[in-house]
């Protein structure tokens, strides 16, 4: 007869439970902190559970950070960025991975090289360009660059395309596909996991981005969500519990996008066969 609970299983479960707690406790602390009063938040040593439970923090932050209108702006920026990044970067990556043209590898190195330049140093020149284009105080500067290809995204997609065996490409060519059709009909569908990864990265990056919105947007009605949440912090006094509540609300769309993209991550392991 076999033992019902072999030792190695118990140890395994304990390990898994311990790791789960390590992930959960900080998250729960955040949730509890979002329900505290300012007074309780400032207590030291801190108390874990909120007392009294201040549900009104959520309604306050919803109004003060202007969630209802800023969410729409954030969604516009994030969605347009995702579409742009997926289209432009994958096209460029396809060229770098599969087409043959002079200086291809040198050009790719230059693209990678731009990743070494910290974004912050290009802020002023970029600002001047957008100013001259008349795009200040519009949402365009926040997403339009994604339509021109991003080095990291290009790199990611190129790696994915390189992994696809040449046979697929040749088979498609025999069937009369031109390079664009090979890209669109054969390569893109096979790289859904990478596309999903890229979509999630881009969405998260844009959803949480703070520097560009702060710099390019002036009017209230154009603000994005992170500005709304940050605007709760004062020079002298910050209602931290409201900031935490705001951050938690703004997490929801990211969770949704992630859950949506998850099935493609799994699908990735299925498409590797070639006989």
């Amino acid at each position: 007869m076999q033992k019902r609970f072999p030792l190695n299983k118990i140890v395994g479960y304990l390990f898994v439970i311990a790791s789960a707690l390590m992930m959960l406790v900080p998250f729960l602390t955040t949730v509890f902190n979002s329900l505290k009063t300012y007074k309780q938040y400032m207590q030291f040593p801190p108390e874990w559970l909120p007392n009294p439970t201040q549900w009104s923090n959520y309604t306050t932050v919803w109004e003060q950070a202007n969630f209802s209108s800023y969410t729409i702006n954030s969604l516009i920026v994030a969605i347009l960025s995702v579409i742009g990044a997926l289209l432009s970067s994958s096209m460029i990556a396809f060229a770098f991975a599969r087409l043959r043209f002079p200086f291809r590898d040198t050009l790719f190195m230059i693209v990678l090289g731009t990743m070494m330049i910290p974004g912050i140093v290009t802020i002023v020149p970029q600002f001047i360009i957008f100013k001259n284009l008349g795009l200040l105080d519009t949402l365009a500067p926040l997403w339009i660059l994604e339509w021109l290809g991003q080095p990291f995204a290009i790199f990611l997609m190129r790696q994915a395309f390189l992994n696809i065996p040449k046979d697929y490409e040749e088979a498609a060519k025999l069937d009369g596909c031109n390079p664009f059709q090979i890209y669109w009909r054969v390569f893109l569908p096979m790289c859904k996991p990478s596309l999903a990864t890229l979509a999630v990265f881009t969405f998260m990056g844009k959803w949480n981005e703070i520097l560009a919105p702060v710099i390019y947007l002036i009017s209230d009605e154009n603000f994005t969500l992170p500005i709304g949440i940050l605007s709760l912090s004062g020079q002298y006094k910050t209602e931290d519990q409201l900031l935490v509540a705001g951050a938690l609300i703004s997490l929801i769309p990211i969770l949704i996008v992630f859950l949506f993209a998850e099935k493609y991550f799994v699908e990735g392991s299925k498409t590797s066969g070639l006989k």
């Binding site: 007074k39 030291f44 950070a65 365009a140 940050l230 605007s231 004062g234 020079q235 006094k237």
Partner: protein
């Protein structure tokens, strides 16, 4: 067939993008009819933003020829944005500058010298803090928007529990240290002068100081020392007075009467130590009352203690309206009208005082019952007004952030016993002088 559909989809996307770009862009018109559009910047959080909008609406009512367009963001982001805008040449015509940044903008040539306007059109007798925006050449660069001044904040409950009398106006820094001994407790409730006092488990400290306006700078000044000379271009760290003050601080840290930087870190934020009632006294500025009242602390304020020779010092930060050097003439005129309205209108002053973040710049409002209202803490608000008599700026110049960093980093190493007082003095003197020379000698 499919290919065509794809191409049309692609075309549609491109068209939408093009439409969005062209639809979103709009050239801001500077003038609408006879109206002047004044572009104004200020940093804000929800309560201050709401108040400022109300005041702007009232101003526009009484000044129908001016329309105000605003640019606002939370404190840190506001200045980041402003820096970019100044570099790109489209900063606001007028903005509310942190008092520590006024001379920086002046020395970098971003703001207008308004000496003429200030001397001719502003009644100096009626305003608090105007002189703090005057540089060593006698030029004025800004007009105060709200005043911050430092005082000694103390937790009444902790004093009562220890049976120590509250700080008075006659206190010297040594009196403060003597009181700190009785107010410092370890986990077993033993006082700092008890032989059994456990330095490793202090749970309540006598006095905390950190940063620039809340920190060592004030103590150096009270001891007759300081950091920069009046031209703000030379370090005066290397002086016997400073050495004495630094030794006084190190002694307090070593006896654990004052939390050192590592002890403060344990509280998550430096401010939380006092807010949570783990520190009995702290130097802070008027604005701190908002968070202390929010945390429900039982506290009051006393004037900053005196140095050994009876010298007193308190930090003052005059947050100010400054005008863009590149602003057009009619906008400069409108900006001055706004400043005059802000500093003379009782209505605007009272509205702003309600936010509770700053001492009103108009003296009559600052001395009124409305500001001094004893029903809200701290009771002794008059201390802030009296302090203005001896308060001084905290040596703010174009490289203020940079030299403060050298100063506080080195102090932290000193307080963590990385080196001794003498080494701190020479190292800091050289470090700060280098920061100053890097900027001023290259100009």
């Amino acid at each position: 067939m499919k290919k065509r559909r794809f191409l049309s989809v692609l075309g549609l996307i491109g068209l939408t993008a093009a439409l969005l770009i062209s639809g979103c862009s709009s050239q801001s018109s500077t003038q609408q009819g006879d109206k002047v559009e004044l572009y104004m910047g200020y940093s804000s959080d929800p309560p201050t933003k709401k108040k400022m909008e109300e005041i702007i609406a009232k101003f526009e009512q009484s000044h129908p020829h001016i329309k105000i367009k605003t640019m606002t963001a939370p404190y840190d982001d506001f200045y980041q944005k402003l820096t970019t805008q100044i570099a790109a040449g489209n900063a606001p015509d007028l903005w509310q500058s942190d008092g520590t940044k006024v001379f920086g903008y002046a020395q970098r040539g971003a703001i207008l010298d308004i000496t003429d306007y200030v001397t001719k059109e502003i009644n100096k007798e009626e305003l608090n803090g105007l002189e703090f925006n005057k540089d060593s050449d006698g030029k004025y660069w800004g007009v105060p928007q709200g005043i911050q001044v430092g005082a000694l904040f103390y937790n009444k409950d902790l004093f009562d529990k220890a049976g120590v009398p509250y700080p008075t106006a006659d206190w010297t820094w040594d009196d403060l240290k003597a009181a700190s001994v009785k107010l410092t407790l370890d986990a077993n409730g033993k006082h700092a002068d008890d032989p059994a006092f456990d330095k490793k488990s202090v749970k309540q400290y006598g006095f905390a100081f950190f940063g620039s306006s809340r920190g060592a700078f004030n103590i150096l000044k009270a001891y007759g020392g300081g950091v920069l000379d009046p031209t703000l271009k030379k370090s005066i760290i290397n002086s016997p007075e400073n050495k004495k003050a630094v030794e006084w601080m190190v002694d307090g840290m070593q006896r654990k009467l004052f939390p050192n930087p590592a002890d403060l870190k344990a509280f998550q934020s430096n401010f939380k130590a006092f807010l949570s009632g783990a520190v009995a006294m702290q130097i802070d500025i008027y604005a701190a009352t908002t968070s202390m009242n929010g945390a429900g602390l039982n506290y009051d304020v006393a004037p900053m203690p005196k140095g050994p020779d009876g010298k007193r010092f308190a930090p003052v930060i005059a947050n100010s309206w400054v005008i863009n050097k590149k602003a057009e003439e009619q906008k400069v005129k409108a900006a001055k009208e706004w400043i005059t309205y802000w500093t003379t209108s009782d209505e605007a002053q009272k509205e702003w005082t309600e936010v509770g973040e700053a001492i009103p710049v108009k003296k009559s409002v600052a001395n009124s019952e409305m500001f001094l209202n004893p029903a809200t803490k701290p009771e002794n608000k008059k201390v802030f007004l009296d302090t203005l008599e001896f308060a001084g700026t905290i040596d703010t110049n174009a490289v203020f952030t940079e030299w403060v960093k050298v100063f506080t980093d080195n102090l932290a190493e000193l307080f963590m016993d990385k080196y001794g007082t003498d080494e701190f003095i020479t190292k800091t003197d050289e470090g700060i002088q280098k920061v100053l020379d890097d900027f001023f000698k290259k100009q």
